[in-house]
Point group: D2
Chain length 349, copies 4
């Protein structure tokens, strides 16, 4: 019985739990004035090859919404892919945090925002006869690993950033699965973010092995002051901050974040490749990170669920498509068992 | 070197950490559809002697603001004590979550909201010639343990609830230190809340021994549906909910929450009583829970800080007053050491 | 030199100005407790064949946003046509008034919301596995005369209302040019609104001959109480209300609103038909009310502007398209002069 | 039967009505691109002796809230007098427009904000150990004529502005009765505003003789860009702007605003002085502008109301106090009739 619904069904990396236990005794000043938070700042600076402001929070929705609120006024427009998590899966949190900014969905193949379509949309909005009638183009947000399982390489980010520069838009990256992208592409954190034009990153650790820890990483210090207030005003300033920072430090240390992501990516590859050879199953998208999108015929879908396996339908990839997500906790045995059951069902056994 | 700045400088109860480690492996459905969350619901129902909706979140500011947003429309008024945390220490979070409701500060001795003053203020607002000009009286919030270290007994709560009933106001209790109140008064959770007229409780575990876990406990199911949406829209729906629920379950189980609070209360009593006998120190308020408010003369204050002890000034209790907060983690030795240093400084040693 | 940019470039109907002068002297109680406002209530009840709550405001953006805020919670979704004024021309005002609800653009031929597409979109959102992640379907808004100059007949409204009923969505009509629709279709105000399923109407008088007067007409009394507070809280409660009410009373009396609209509609018909016979001009949409959409070749477009005529490009109808809007103030002579200039330019004169 | 409830029970100055009629015919571009709006800009610049941005809106609540939103972030605090209209009479509109900023009431004799009390409050907030917990001091707003009928002279404004400068706070003046202050003090508009340190003024014409017209006058151009967007997003950008501008131009021209205010002030003086000699009546505050606050004994209060006179109770000045407000439309005969009735009732006739 393998649960492939999402990487948020996983538990936590042992090293992260150990770090919490170690951090768990003794007095430490609250709200970030503790040694773990100082260590986190240093570690992020080292990993990203420059100083950056780091704001740990407990959820990805908070990280994304806080980041966007720093990049747009209430009368601004934020451009994103039609399928973006901020657009379809956060209950309008960005609209709430920004005071009513508009999210504008833009298309793009393979769940990646198309720079040409973006440029066309922003050009039209910026050219209005009545500027104050139109939500002012203010920011762009991209997600990697995207909702469709695809990646933005540094050159993809740079192409978006080029549009941003033309129109003075802020660029946010929703990195709920940032580590998965790095693991797949082999590029550096700096290459994928500020060197390519990203202003703020939501660095997600929860899906990668933390209990509940994300960090808003701000490369432009001017944006950090408003973020400090926004985090408090929205109830996201945790008093015992050491417990968020300790998770992030453990996750980022000794390459754990990347090796956990590499593990998950590899299993998704095996799962996708394996299923593509099973009659009644068909890989409907290349596996670029830790998600495989597969079309199952009804007997296969029913059969796998009947044996206790769990996964979500994914209508964006077709009526029969499902999404299979691996995590740091998924095992070789899980993948083998799932494939074996698929083959057995397909064979009528 | 004893840190008495706040109970949020403490770490976490060993049982809470153990629970996280136990919860840390294996798949569980996200967003509350996990066994720990189910256990939490059952445990709260048992402890409060009735079914209730439980919404875990990571911070007290979030718990309070979400609760108030369920009780007031954007054009409502929320009455609280002048010194209330929601009024002076949350950066306007309630105003943000409610869409711009007004908090109205009301006086009251010993940091407790005065029912007569409350009734007078609501009566005046409700009697306006132009009702839509005036923020509509909608809710009351009280804090126990209060900011001044005092308690609301069930009869105190009932006196406030009586005003609420007259004017159809919702009643919220900020229970960041709810356990401390129960431990001091020996009353039941039900007696102090819904039996006395409380509609929503912010049940705080962080200060009492969790890492970062609070629960909004809703006694009126009609309020729960909006809360579910509000929690998500404000970024406070944690995906791996088991890790919040597990903290709360461990803390509430086997009377840990009460024994931890009793321990902290007892040490504050000893600390207060001990200091009151030290020349240059004077207890400025009775110690009802885990906070002692003491006026130190300057040599004493400087001397204690010079020896590495930490505490905050508390101008609300006078220019020389400081607040000393004990926690589950404070030890008998801490209290003895602090008292010994105070005596030594007073003696000129 | 004819200005066809919009019907908001017109002045005011003489009868409306006369009414202001008559209302201009003597004491009257503020905020709607005046005889003109009482007269307005009675008049709307008579015209709409049922009691209704009437809330005059100064702008259409306010009327629309207030109406929508009564129909959706902050976590709701409001469905509208992709081209709707609320979507593209109000700078995110609905998002601001609603506390961050999402507007979801839906397609539809001829600028009319397609009921099938609407049903499909709502069905998908309502069927989410994680309801609180998705903005909850709450309301639909339609505009007649639409942004593309087309109309909703009562049957068109009823088809939308049928979807609303299935999913318990509120239905709002943006009637900035409501009178124009009635004049064109010859149906009754009741037929086009509450009898067809509309819950709240923005009844626009400004474009039809008032100075600045719109009325939110609420057919469901339960929605009216929140609207009274929302109007004040957003600064839209005018103190000397008689001056808004007097405009609306004068406009609605003696059929002035309909005859003014009929006049404008007739001239748009003549203008469209006339231009369609001019070489280099082509009517690109049927003229249903007071807007003609015409594609001009460059010499014609430049020539008309060179002679002082004014109109806006309308890229939604093609790169060469322009929008020509007539009003109560446009004259036969204006239309003849415009056509004569067009013919002269086309003839190279 | 004299209505002294408020100056908003009056109609409109004949010159203002004439201006509307004159502006009422012919095409003019919308949203402020019309000759009347250009004339208004020039007139304001002349009257205030410097260029300023002028944003006409229809209500004072909108003017105040928009102004404050330009001066404070959502996490800011705005200081005002306890009795200020923005605090007690606008249903939390400033909280809504600012995204949840806090209004902090400060005392002060005679309804004037006390600079010392202001300085003390801001000093405390600015000195917090945890800055992000406390709403950040951002702006101050003062009202002249104040709610208690008193005035701020230029030196009073400068004393407040001095505190603002120390803490980099913006200074807003709610000038709903700005003309009344000028008329009473004989100082210049410049002296009372930017020369004394005011950043934004709500210039109110409605109470002084317009139908519904206020102007936000911004002396610092950097604040104007956000105001343009905020005005639209809150639905306060009127399309046929000429009709707001024409009211303001007529009111400001030929000294009409000042002579109308002088008239009202003079009658309030006579009314107050006259009533103070009537047995059973007592002036409870000096009459500085167009409001007289008088304590009536019950027979006098009942008798005057019984004869059809209208006025509001004013508990802030004592249980028997009432507020009597004169306007440009109040006549000598009104005052005489009111006084005669008071004397007759007192004499038992």
């Amino acid at each position: 019985m393998v649960n492939l619904c999402s990487d948020n069904v996983a538990g936590a990396l042992p090293a992260v739990l150990d770090a919490l236990v170690e951090a768990g005794r003794g007095a430490a000043m609250p709200y970030g004035a503790d040694p773990w938070s100082a260590r986190l700042d240093a570690l992020v600076a080292e990993i990203f090859e420059r100083p950056a402001m780091v704001f740990p929070v407990a959820t990805g929705t908070a990280a994304n919404s806080l980041a966007l609120a720093c990049l747009t006024p209430p009368w601004g427009a934020v451009y994103c892919h039609d399928e973006a998590h901020v657009m379809v899966d956060e209950c309008g949190a960005p609209e709430f945090f920004t005071g009513g900014a508009k999210l504008i969905g833009i298309g793009g193949r393979d769940s990646r925002l198309d720079p040409q379509a973006l440029r066309a949309a922003v050009t039209q909005a910026a050219g209005s006869d009545h500027p104050v009638h139109v939500a002012r183009p203010s920011a762009v947000t991209i997600t990697t690993v995207s909702e469709g399982g695809t990646l933005y390489a540094p050159a993809d980010v740079a192409a978006i950033a080029d549009v941003c520069r033309t129109f003075s838009l802020g660029l946010h990256m929703d990195g709920a699965r940032f580590a998965g992208t790095l693991a797949a592409l082999g590029c550096s954190p700096a290459d994928l973010t500020w060197k390519a034009g990203v202003d703020i990153l939501s660095l997600g650790a929860t899906k990668g092995g933390a209990l509940a820890a994300e960090a808003v990483v701000v490369f432009d210090p001017a944006l950090a002051e408003t973020l400090a207030y926004r985090r408090k005003k929205s109830g996201h300033l945790v008093s015992k901050m050491r417990f968020l920072s300790a998770q992030l430090v453990a996750w980022l240390s000794e390459g754990r974040w990347l090796s956990a992501a590499r593990h998950a990516n590899g299993l998704a590859q095996r799962l996708g490749a394996g299923l593509d050879t099973v009659p009644g199953a068909r890989l409907v998208a290349p596996v670029e990170a830790n998600m495989a999108f597969v079309a199952f015929d009804q007997p296969l879908s029913d059969g796998l669920r009947g044996r206790g396996h769990a996964f979500y339908p994914w209508p964006a990839h077709g009526p029969q498509a499902v999404r299979l997500v691996t995590s740091f906790e998924t095992t070789d045995e899980d993948v083998e068992a799932f494939l074996a059951d698929a083959r057995a069902i397909a064979a009528g056994r």
